[in-house]
């Protein structure tokens, strides 16, 4: 085929090719497919909670506390007679919201700091990375406890606290990427075209360093959900009566012998959510990796 015909075939598919390739790869990847399905179901559950939930999650029925599953309460009731199924359904809202929001904030903080560190190098890099190291070497849960204690409990504060813990991984990943990408000829070319440091960082380096962040982001959401549940378990998350999986797990734990589902149901949901995001992360990594390898070959 001549050069011309090949070239004529391509432009139409121009911008979508990357996204489609990734979606296709994920669909082929069985495990991540499962992850995607679970995430979609969880999201639908969170969005349409008021429609799905059989009862008002905060409606107490003190005549029917700690009941095992029945027709009326499919998963039974909790210690103040609230419908457990409804609370589990509403609980997904908190977990997903915290998971996604905290991850986005953490990624933004991490990406900006990592980008600056990698691009500027030298002293700036030193200072930023030592701060990152410092944050990294404090165990996450302890840092979370301290921050939650300092900021006080509540939905916003837990999101802030988790973002302030979670950004370090992103900063490291993006810095590593930037260190590699900034040596490539097209960055030099951008420099030669008179682009400012800001432009080079955000228009050239960032988009070319983003792939691993997407993978890390997906896996981090899982971690954040776990952290949020742990915080809630320790009484630092959202405040009652807002339904939360971690909180339900904590209270249910005391009645494990009476109504096992009280803690098992939210526990399973937490596990399911974390697994789903990890599966998706796995699939994304496999989908994005070959492309990176392809790029590597070209550079060589």
């Amino acid at each position: 085929m001549s050069d011309e015909t090949i070239d004529q075939l391509q432009p139409q598919r121009a911008s979508r090719i990357g996204v489609w390739a990734v979606m296709k790869a994920i669909l082929k990847h069985k495990v991540s497919c499962v992850g995607v399905v679970i995430i979609i179901l969880l999201s639908l559950m969170a969005i349409f909670a008021p429609l799905i939930a059989p009862h008002d999650p905060n409606e107490q029925d003190l005549y029917h506390v700690l009941e095992n599953p029945s027709r009326k309460h499919l998963l039974g009731t909790d210690d103040v007679g609230r419908d457990l199924l409804s609370r589990v359904i509403y609980g997904s809202r908190i977990s997903l919201l915290v998971g996604v929001a905290a991850t986005i904030f953490a990624a933004v903080i991490g990406v900006i700091l990592g980008l600056i560190a990698g691009y500027k190098g030298g002293m700036v890099d030193m200072v930023i990375m030592r701060i990152t190291d410092t944050f990294m070497c404090i165990p996450g849960l302890i840092l979370l406890l301290v921050m939650a204690a300092a900021l006080g409990p509540g939905l916003h504060n837990i999101i802030i606290a988790i973002s302030l813990i979670g950004w370090t991984g992103f900063a490291r990943i993006i810095r590593g990427q930037v260190l590699m990408v900034r040596e490539l000829p097209y960055i030099e070319a951008a420099n030669a075209a008179g682009a400012s440091g800001f432009r080079i960082m955000f228009r050239h380096l960032l988009p070319n360093s983003l792939a691993p962040i997407i993978v890390a982001g997906s896996i981090t959401i899982g971690g954040v959900i776990m952290l949020e549940s742990a915080a809630a378990f320790l009484g630092l998350g959202v405040q009652p009566p807002t339904p939360s999986w971690g909180k339900a797990l904590r209270i249910g734990y005391s009645y494990l012998e009476v109504v096992p589902l009280f803690s098992i149901a939210p526990g399973l949901m937490i596990t399911l959510a974390i697994l789903a995001f990890n599966f998706l992360g796995d699939g994304l990594r496999d989908a994005l990796d070959p492309r990176l390898r392809g790029q590597g070959k070209k550079i060589e």
Binding site: D7, A14, G194
Partner: protein, 324 residues
């Protein structure tokens, strides 16, 4: 013709762990408006570093421009602030890089990259910029320019990419374009096409051009004047015509003898220059070329020759007159 660029005693050194590398060592040359200058030499002789020094794109550390002046449009580029030099880069002085496949950002469309220099340097509306880019793409013979604007670099062939790069270099109508081995990554048939195109466009816009290459054929055809570099220094400076008619430096003579020619006797063997290019950290004493030079005399071992005029358009740095 008025002087566009004057390089005076430029030295760029790299401070590496193994020692000091004088990649560019005390070189001076000038360039007039609209003129084409060829910069020739082996790999690692400082051609590219010289070009990057003009735009102050030397990675620092380890590199540093230690002395000299680069006077471009009556401004010394080496003393400008970072912001001011950014205003020159891509605007008054643009660069075309060697490998089009890697010198373009893979995640940005050709159109956006083409528009970038003008977004940076010109206060124009998006529409105007787009129009000019389309026009330029047509000028560099890229068919279906409007569709191509939305294509990504991997959808272009090497030749098309280099043509896009040329267009990119010319977007802001620079006074000087530096083409750093613009055709080395391409196959021969396309090389000639591209050089013609570059020559035509620079002539049309009145742009001066510095072609960096190790291909003497390219220089012969496209350059008005030639600087031959060896181990960081200019060893011969001449008009292209004069250089080919009577090369005076032993190195240039060696280079020419090692290029195959179509009009040559087929049975005759090519004569390569003996030895290896020098290790830039441990340069030979005196004239750096003396270990490989068949004309060497005692003096070459101890004293470094400076450029001296041999006739109106011709300067060489050599102790020997090769014609005697």
């Amino acid at each position: 013709m008025s002087k566009l660029l004057e390089v005076k005693n430029l030295s760029t050194h790299f401070f590496t762990d193994d020692g000091l590398v004088k990649a560019v060592d005390n070189i001076s040359y000038s360039l007039n408006e609209g003129e084409t200058l060829g910069l020739v030499g082996e790999s690692g002789c400082g051609k590219s570093v010289n070009a990057l020094s003009l735009l102050r794109l030397i990675p620092n550390p380890p590199g540093k421009i230690v002395s000299g002046k680069v006077i471009f449009e009556d401004q010394n580029l080496l003393t400008l602030s970072e912001d001011d030099i950014c205003r020159i880069r891509g605007n008054r002085m643009a660069m075309i890089f060697q490998e089009p496949m890697t010198s373009l950002n893979p995640v940005m469309t050709i159109g956006r990259q083409l528009m970038e220099p003008m977004e940076i340097h010109r206060q124009m509306t998006r529409g105007e910029i787009q129009e000019r880019c389309l026009d330029l793409l047509k000028r560099v013979h890229i068919p279906e320019a409007p569709t191509r604007m939305n294509a990504y670099p991997h959808q272009f062939s090497g030749g098309m990419l280099q043509r896009a790069m040329i267009a990119m270099g010319l977007t802001c109508n620079p006074r000087l374009v530096i083409a750093d081995e613009p055709t080395t990554a391409l196959d021969v048939t396309i090389q000639a096409q591209l050089l013609e195109l570059m020559k035509d466009l620079t002539r049309e816009f009145g742009t001066a051009l510095i072609i960096i290459t190790h291909n003497l054929g390219i220089v012969a055809r496209y350059a008005d004047r030639v600087n031959v570099m060896y181990a960081g220094r200019i060893v011969e400076k001449s008009t292209a015509m004069d250089l080919y008619k009577n090369p005076r430096h032993p190195y240039t003579i060696g280079l020419m003898a090692s290029v195959p020619r179509l009009d040559q006797d087929m049975k005759k063997k090519l004569k390569p220059i003996e030895g290896q290019p020098p290790d830039l950290i441990h340069l030979p004493s005196g004239c750096s070329f003396h270990p490989r030079c068949s004309y060497r005399v005692e003096r070459c071992l101890n004293e470094t020759p400076e450029l001296k005029t041999v006739n109106e358009n011709h300067e060489i740095a050599c102790w020997v007159d090769v014609r005697t």
